[in-house]
């Protein structure tokens, strides 16, 4: 019996496969040793980027090993799993890996960030949301986040008609598919607006609607972003700082250019 196993095992062809690794950020080496001045210490950066991303991607590798998602990128996996109710544990890691990377991509050093600003094109679009300055954009987004419970990422998205909307995705919600935005919290009292959103959502899923939202800006408010540098209750302090590190050149480029 043992012999046959050995013989069999010799016949097994060993496939090599790639594993998910952490994307390299442009200023990674600098941030790893010095952090991002007042936003992340080097420990804060290590925990919220290196360790958190590593955690998400290692789990993703383990869960997709030997499946059809094995060779796909996190972005492709999140799109692939978003609609499948039995693959939500995989969706979580793929979507969060994407969100965290998307958030980090738009960060830069304070001195560089100071030189950039939202384009006139972007600000013109924001006027339709009653936002007339960067200051009021900050205020509005910080306010939404302070009134949110638990973990999440607040997105500014460009919708189908090229207007801008806020999308407050709880936990690992993704802006790319309305069925998995996770914007509703049904824990407390449910008002008419929430109910209609829920009904609308059901109808859209039934109709098989497509989603054309594209994220422009993301502010992550997962605990891990601020817990090491600002403490368990440091959300508002973190939110006041994070805006000084947004590289608007990158955000501007994410808009659909005419």
């Amino acid at each position: 019996m043992f012999k046959s196993i050995t013989r069999n095992s010799q016949r097994i062809r060993i496939n090599s496969r790639s594993i998910h690794t952490i994307p390299k950020l442009e200023l990674h080496d600098q941030w790893k040793t010095n952090g991002l001045s007042n936003l992340f210490s080097s420990q804060g950066y290590t925990e919220s980027w290196i360790n958190f991303q590593n955690y998400l991607l290692t789990n993703l590798t383990l869960l997709t090993n030997g499946t059809g998602n094995e060779t796909k990128h996190p972005f492709q996996i999140l799109l692939n799993t978003a609609k499948q109710s039995t693959k939500q544990h995989i969706f979580h890691f793929a979507s969060m890996a994407f969100n965290n990377h998307f958030f980090y991509q738009q960060l830069t050093n304070q001195e560089i960030a100071k030189e950039t600003k939202p384009s006139r094109f972007l600000m013109e679009k924001l006027i339709h949301q009653d936002i007339d300055s960067l200051e009021s954009l900050k205020l509005k987004m910080n306010n939404i986040i302070m009134n949110s419970n638990g973990q999440g990422v607040l997105f500014l998205v460009e919708s189908k008609d090229k207007s801008l909307q806020f999308l407050n995705c709880s936990n690992d919600g993704t802006p790319f598919y309305y069925g998995k935005n996770q914007i509703l919290d049904l824990n407390g009292g449910i008002d008419e607006h929430t109910f209609k959103q829920l009904e609308n959502l059901k109808q859209r899923v039934k109709n098989g609607d497509s989603d054309f939202n594209l994220p422009i800006l993301a502010i992550s408010y997962w605990d891990i972003m601020y817990i090491h540098d600002f403490g368990i209750n440091g959300k508002s302090e973190y939110l006041n700082k994070v805006w000084d590190y947004i590289n608007w050149d990158i955000v501007n480029k994410r808009l659909f250019q005419v």
């Binding site: 009134n147 419970n149 936990n171 824990n187 407390g188 368990i232 209750n233």
Partner: protein
């Protein structure tokens, strides 16, 4: 049932964080909460966050008119009162978060056999160990656990795995479950005493509360309300789903006997992002079963005589 939480009663329309003697001691001496939290973490989790929640709650309470000034309200009552009212969403959140925080911390005791340690990526590949201590000694309680979950090992595994399944904020509860819904009790048993036959594990997310009997049916009520506005005079019999929703499994009385807060803030500082499993294993060793037993309702077992 909430005897242990009466400290949270309302006086002069304010709530304050209950005094927890062992935590006050930890704060004064600067020591760790042995076996679970570093001093820094427990300070922020309990004192800072707790005071934050209660002051926010008091703030919102002073602005609402749901409460009569001459009456004393328990936190539990405030939670039930605000549960169905969308305008009081934030107030409800602060109240339930405060209640949940106290309920969790109250049932913990220090255990210096555990190590508080940061984990690295290798922790994801470790096989979970099945050797553990802190097994409850009460014979009847153990019997009930065995009846409901099979064995203490299965109970512990289910508890830890339910905790791991929550990705954002959330709480794992162990509850005593009534076998009959409140609707049934109303109609059939005049004394309305729920009978608790089973123990079960329930997850709640983002400061949700467990006993949401008052909450259930919100969606169908709203549906009815809006439907009446648009399609009048339409004779329609209730669907099977509706019947099931109303009778079969909703508004059963659940009595929480133990809760574990698995939100990231509890383990990130001491165990790191890879340390959730270790944190949960440590929590198990720190459960104060005496507190759990005090919360336990009377068990109803079926007696079959031939």
């Amino acid at each position: 049932m909430f005897k242990n939480t009466k400290i949270l009663s309302r006086r002069l329309s304010t709530f304050s964080l209950p005094v927890n003697k062992s935590l006050e001691g930890i704060k004064a001496t600067g020591e760790n909460f042995q076996g679970l939290f570093s001093n820094k973490t427990i300070n922020q989790l309990w004192f800072e966050r707790g005071e934050n929640l209660s002051s926010n709650l008091n703030n919102l309470l002073s602005q609402t008119s749901i409460l009569k000034n001459d009456k004393e309200y328990s936190l539990q009552t405030i939670i039930s009162l605000s549960m169905n009212t969308p305008e009081l969403y934030q107030l409800h959140k602060y109240a339930s978060n405060l209640f949940n925080l106290n309920f969790f911390i109250e049932s913990l005791k220090q255990n210096d056999a555990n190590k508080i340690e940061k984990k690295n990526v290798d922790a994801l590949l470790e096989t979970p160990k099945n050797s553990f201590g802190n097994i409850p000694t009460d014979h009847d309680f153990l019997d009930w656990i065995n009846y409901s979950f099979g064995s203490i090992e299965e109970f512990r595994n289910l508890l830890i795995n339910s905790g791991r399944a929550i990705n954002g904020d959330g709480i794992v509860w162990v509850v005593a479950e009534s076998s009959m819904s409140e609707n049934y009790l109303d109609k059939n048993l005049p004394q309305k005493v729920p009978r608790f036959t089973n123990l079960a594990i329930v997850n709640t997310y983002n400061g949700g509360v467990l006993n949401d009997a008052e909450r259930s049916g919100q969606i169908s009520r709203m549906k009815k309300l809006l439907k009446e506005e648009t399609e009048e005079d339409e004779l329609e019999l209730g669907s099977v789903e509706e019947a099931e929703y109303n009778v079969a499994y909703h508004n059963k009385s659940l009595i929480p006997i133990l809760s574990i807060d698995v939100s990231p803030r509890n383990y990130l500082l001491d165990y790191g992002v890879f340390g959730k499993q270790k944190y949960l294993e440590n929590v198990w060793e720190c459960i104060d079963w005496d507190v759990v037993l005090r919360r336990l309702p009377e068990r109803t077992t079926q007696l079959i005589t031939m």
